[in-house]
Subunit: 310 residues, 2 copies
């Protein structure tokens, strides 16, 4: 009977309670201010846990990220040396694909203009810009990136992808990898979608240096992490016309503070970190599965490679 | 050297001129007020041509619709008895798929609310409604309908389709056909997308009788023709909660008159017939191809079956 702590410094983890009761009824759950004796906790399911807390659990055997990313764990220098798992969920990929397709079409087809015209009762059709002439690049070709690429190809966009190491890509997706092919990849991205994991190498990757390698007037979609983006560089790139627009779902500080300049810039579309979400049922099932793997001694292959960062 | 008239009572057909010069340089073009001797015209490329005009061309051998539909031709009782062709264009299907995916996601994920919150600098995430639990039905499984179905499946929606006669459907698409399966089809459409051809049977099909067979609070997307919809029935169905929302790209009267109630209803999203468009190059190429078929005596198979209406 494992004892599992549900930990977050920013979210109410009670929304996971029912799913754990149904999918993992033998687990004892601890959450909120009432964690009980920390030495009793076997596993922790986390979304931005309070820094230092995991290190105070002497018998902790497993850390389960409640998200696809684990940067919210590795940012804690006291992270204990136990296997860390992340959520890999095809259903989560559908949420991401629907957000990314919406974001790409909304800007590429100027849907915001049509919505504004409708409010003014104005009929003003524009010529269709063929999607086949619009290049969309996905940086990061994991489960989420590949789902976005597939969906964008079904809309007729010219889709390319970039990953750190070579990946097998579906038919129709032009795949690039590594530092050597990065500039070539960027040169064809009329829209660039960031779905990279946040690692020391990718922190601040969305910078002026990168924006200068995109076609002039490109659209940036950041659905990775806020810290991928150098915020000041985005604002100056928009001012200079290097970029035409940005759609941002993720920020260094969340909620985005009311006075933040991103809210006030009509070229930037802000959404409140809703592109996708893991389902509580999937989190409960994957936690149970990973504890079982650990018990059987074969957790290594499924766990995150912390050096790599995903 | 065929003489081809480019005819429309609503659009400026000069945008086709360059494509015809490049793709069909041996054709002599006539358009606007300067049609010359009507007896010299061999073929007419039409979008809502002036009623009665085609009947005054005694040597007309071919009518090419500049669109996927031919209802703008068959509504003229004096339409001469010559082969009629319509545009069937995979690139046009991409435009339609991108519009339909945008329309479905925009409502299903309440993106309009996020845009409004952003304008007020309010961070207000909502729980993700999984696309797998949202049924989207496509009425009409031609080239456009199938492209929409494929793209919506790539976003994780539960997609079903309906057609008058049985069609081969791709994996994952639940296909219904004929009157007998219509109600069963409609009962699973949280969003209904109308992509039917406009024929005497489908005129006014989007009526109260149909809305009552949808799940309560469904979303209607009409990208077929304005005359598919009984406008008064839509407004009363929205008032009664039978429907929650409508996204309309096509109207009986276009441009939609400024005083029309659809403009003023926040539950209705109006766009100015922009879901997709045929490319001038494709129109020129298909006109050339169809004249060639006619010359070789094998136009029949490619021509529209006017009794069927598509």
């Amino acid at each position: 009977m494992p004892t599992i702590a549900l930990l977050s410094s920013v979210a109410d983890m009670r929304h996971l309670h029912q799913a754990f009761q149904e999918e993992f009824p033998e687990a004892r759950l601890r959450m909120g201010d009432d964690l009980g004796a920390l030495c009793e906790i076997d596993a922790a399911v986390c979304w931005r846990p309070p820094p230092g807390l995991l290190a105070r659990m002497p018998n902790l055997a497993l850390i389960q990220s409640a998200a696809a990313g684990i940067d919210h764990l590795t940012s804690d220098p006291t992270l204990p040396d136990v296997p860390v798992f992340r959520i890999i969920d095809p259903a989560m990929a559908f949420g991401m694909a629907s957000y990314v397709c919406w974001a790409v079409v909304h800007r590429q087809r100027a849907m915001a203009d049509y919505l504004a015209h409708a409010q003014a009762h104005v009929w003003k059709p524009r010529r269709l810009e063929p999607p086949q002439q619009h290049g969309v690049g996905i940086a990061g070709l994991g489960t989420l990136g590949l789902a976005c690429a597939q969906a964008l190809m079904a809309l007729g966009y010219r889709v390319r992808g970039w990953s750190r190491t070579p990946r097998s890509a579906p038919a129709g997706l032009q795949a690039f990898h590594g530092d050597a092919q990065r500039d070539q990849f960027l040169s064809g991205c009329d829209t660039l979608v960031c779905l990279l994991p946040l690692t020391p190498e990718t922190m601040g990757i969305l910078s002026r240096d990168l924006f200068e390698r995109l076609p002039r007037g490109a659209h940036l979609v950041n659905v990775g992490r806020g810290a991928h983006l150098v915020e000041a560089d985005l604002l100056s790139a928009l001012d200079d016309g290097l970029l035409r627009a940005a759609t941002l779902d993720t920020f260094v500080e969340e909620p985005l503070p009311p006075a933040h300049p991103f809210w006030h810039d009509p070229r930037i579309t802000v959404t409140p970190h809703i592109a996708t979400a893991t389902s509580p049922v999937v989190i409960a099932r994957q936690t149970r599965l990973n504890l079982e793997r650990l018990r059987q001694g074969n957790a290594q292959a499924a766990a995150v490679d912390l050096k790599r960062g995903y």
